[in-house]
Symmetry: C2
Subunit: 122 residues, 2 copies
């Protein structure tokens, strides 16, 4: 898969050789960083897909005059994600903070969409 590669040049993981670090330690560090970079690329593409969904939700809400935020839905999402995180041995508090961070961005998008809809009507 080179399609999602940002272009020529060394990857973030590969160009990190520093003097003073044992070769085998550097190789292990590069191996782990290669995996981290792959996971980050996957997460970026997942979130791009997520925002496509939330953008459709935003349009739907704006069209039907539904409020951008939905506290009961968010509470259920947080409970579920904390449980998923716990099962995956990810800190549930971190998962919750992350979801809140993403939801804040989504609500900002929804407000922009709703403002646009109101501007078109007015």
């Amino acid at each position: 898969m080179t399609t999602s590669d940002p272009g020529p040049g060394p990857s973030p993981a590969a160009s990190d050789d520093r003097p003073g670090i044992d070769d085998s330690v550097q190789a292990e560090l590069n191996r782990l960083r290669g995996s981290i970079d792959n996971i980050d690329a996957a997460v970026v593409h997942m979130l791009a897909e997520r925002f496509k969904c939330t953008q459709q939700v935003g349009i739907l809400k704006a069209e039907h005059q539904l409020p951008p935020a939905d506290p009961s839905r968010e509470a259920r999402q947080i409970t579920r994600l904390r449980e998923l995180a716990e099962n995956a041995r990810l800190d549930p508090a971190f998962a919750e903070k992350l979801l809140n961070f993403i939801i804040a961005e989504v609500i900002r998008h929804h407000e922009t969409i709703a403002d646009g809809a109101r501007a078109e009507e007015g």
Copy 2:
């Protein structure tokens, strides 16, 4: 795949029917929210895997007295992720904020590991 399901009870997407919303709108909202919930579960599991990698990096760094933070690596990660985000039509500024949020958590973990290593030595 039911192994990562948090257990019995309705999913966050399914239990959101509210009076006053047209059935077809509610169905569309549920469909989109089902996708969002699936993506969130994938992201949680990706991040669990990412933290497994960064934990190994943290142990390696602590063992070899390398500093927990690595500004040049982080700068390269941010440049790459912004480019990936742009190609995926995700706001690059959001991708950068998100990576910084995750890196801050990782550094916190590395410091904890390094403190543990020092405590064992001392």
